[in-house]
């Protein structure tokens, strides 16, 4: 009787439509949030293993949160709306460089925008990415699948080029590398220690994940999924492909833009265009495929897997006394991720999230097989 909904009667549709209608899921969610918001900072303050030093927070948790946000963004577009994109890196870059321009002040001819606060710059970075996302989404009204993927790939290379070549974006620094304000000031508080940065990311990512979850289970989310599954039937029901696809591009790019700005400002601190190249796009895409297309939870699972796998492969053999070189580790990562993606695409296109869902279904019926 560990995981059952028996005896949990819902007395209204509003309850039935709650984000997690089953009590055990709700408990799991609150526990996770409590660990993330309270336990982790406490462990860090008292420097308890495994939070001794800053490694875990700085090198794993912060990138995990930010990349999970980017994965949610791509999942909205690819998982929910069915539009394959290889341009995630570009949209992250647009978020990052726009935020950089806003935070350092913009002047274009007669238009002068004074330097803006960090948080507002990051959000505006998201809006810039959304705007560009809509433009690059327009081809999706005519082309599909692989052809669209090629169009987004073009966006990726175009923006790689743009941010390297057009010095205005980098405020004419000689190296082409730019730095975020130091210290980062959020609402008057300087955020310097890794645990503080972690909390900033956690708050942003939690809030955005909730908003994304709301969208995908509402009317617009149904329009995205309908367009993904049967665009013709959707259109004949009055769902306009123009609105469904472009709104998915906008929301998705907004998320990726904010993630890019966080990645640049909070995680990297100083960066160059290489941080957002095609490798980044593929990394996010792999997270989404492995975690589960069309699942917010899956975006987190996928991000965790892709980030943790290389670390495990690096640490576990060492701990066991098996010598392993860095090259072998990266080769192994390629092999495992590649094989896993092939296997998932064939057997379970909905990734870890669906495997988890199936496990829960089994648990609900346990000990009966059906």
């Amino acid at each position: 009787m560990l995981y059952r909904e028996v005896g949990q009667f819902k007395t209204s549709y509003a309850q039935d439509m709650a984000i997690f209608p089953i009590r055990q899921d709700r408990i799991a969610l609150w526990l996770t949030l409590a660990i993330a918001f309270i336990v982790v900072p406490l462990l860090d303050i008292f420097q308890i293993w495994p939070f001794k030093g800053e490694y875990l927070i700085r090198a794993i948790l912060i990138p995990f949160l930010i990349l999970a946000l980017a994965a949610i963004g791509l999942n909205i577009l690819t998982g929910y709306c069915g539009q394959l994109s290889l341009g995630s890196g570009a949209f992250m870059a647009i978020g990052a460089y726009s935020a950089y321009k806003f935070v350092t002040g913009v002047s274009i001819m007669a238009l002068h925008i004074p330097p803006l606060p960090v948080f507002i710059s990051i959000i505006l970075g998201g809006f810039m990415a959304a705007f560009v996302g809509i433009l690059f989404g327009i081809p999706s009204l005519r082309i599909k699948g692989l052809y669209l993927a090629v169009a987004t790939l073009a966006a990726q290379f175009f923006f790689d080029w743009l941010f390297i070549r057009v010095k205005w974006f980098t405020n004419y620094t000689s190296s082409g590398s730019v730095a975020a304000p130091d210290p980062l000031i959020f609402f008057g508080y300087p955020v310097t220690r890794p645990v503080e940065k972690y909390l900033v990311c956690l708050i942003v990512v939690t809030a955005f994940a909730l908003l994304a979850k709301n969208l995908v289970r509402g009317n617009i989310g149904r329009q995205w999924q309908a367009t993904r599954d049967q665009d013709i039937a959707a259109e004949l029901m009055g769902i306009r492909p123009l609105y469904a696809k472009l709104s998915a591009f906008a929301v998705s790019s907004f998320f990726m833009g904010v993630a890019g700005a966080l990645w640049a400002f909070v995680y990297l601190g100083a960066w160059e265009p290489l941080a957002f190249n095609i490798d980044r796009s593929f990394q996010i895409l792999f997270m989404v495929i492995i975690g589960g297309l069309g699942s917010i939870l899956g975006s987190f699972l996928g991000a965790a897997f892709i980030l943790v796998l290389p670390i495990l492969l690096d640490q576990v053999p060492h701990a066991l006394g098996i010598p392993i070189t860095v090259e072998t580790v990266s080769l192994l990562v390629f092999l495992i991720v590649g094989a896993l993606i092939c296997w998932l695409l064939i057997v379970e296109p909905h990734g870890f999230a669906r495997l988890w869902g199936t496990a829960k279904e089994k648990l609900r019926l346990w000990p009966y097989p059906y």
Binding site: M17, Q223, A226, G238, I239
Partner: protein
Amino acid sequence: MRAPSGPEIAAGDVLLAVESVSLSFGGVKAISDVSFDIRKGEIRAIIGPNGAGKTSMLNVINGFYHPQKGRITFKGQTRSKMRPHEAAYGGIARTFQNVALFKGMTALDNIMAGRTLKMKRNMFWQLLRAGPALAEEVEHRHAVEEIIDFLKIQEIRRTPVGRLPYGLQKRVELGRALAMEPELLLLDEPMAGMNLEEKEDMSRFVLDVNDHFGTTIALIEHDMGVVMDLSDRVVVLDHGIKIADGTPDVVKKDQAVIDAYLGVAH
């Protein structure tokens, strides 16, 4: 949105008139100079051998295909061309010959998707899923649950439709169309591939929809028994040409119809 709303049509008056419509794909003539009408409140069957142009006719009616010639008058408004979503706004819903459900979504979400046009809350409220957006979700959920009860598919609401057997998929698809509260419902072979019991259930639903909600129905069906039982009037197509039009009894005895079904060369 330009919704072709037009005047209210009284029961028995012409709801939709098709006038000398011709449609061809390259060299293939799918429909040649066909005219007929559908009256408010009736069940109008469209029958004919394979490839007669029945599905194409439905596609013309709801704006998916644009005929090269002819006019269509729906609720008093005449047009030769309209976009599919405009037809949806105007109150035309349909099901498909080869089920076209949203495979990755649950039965409930499929039917909820049918209410898209009726949901007005903007993205801001949907993001928060609070206030007006939540109220709207709940309101439409009530309507959808009524449809679910009506079609007796309570047990499968949470099942992704891709996993449902064919007969139930057809039922969910009918539910999705009903969720639009259409004025004209186009059913393309709703009973194809069903066993006898499922056919009887589906016939019952079609009659009930027509009775209770007064929905006008255009029905394509190959099973003659079903057609004779359900429909008020029948139009018969063969090779894109209308060969008969009238009550089931009249059509059944028509020599051209008998020939078409027996495959007599013409």
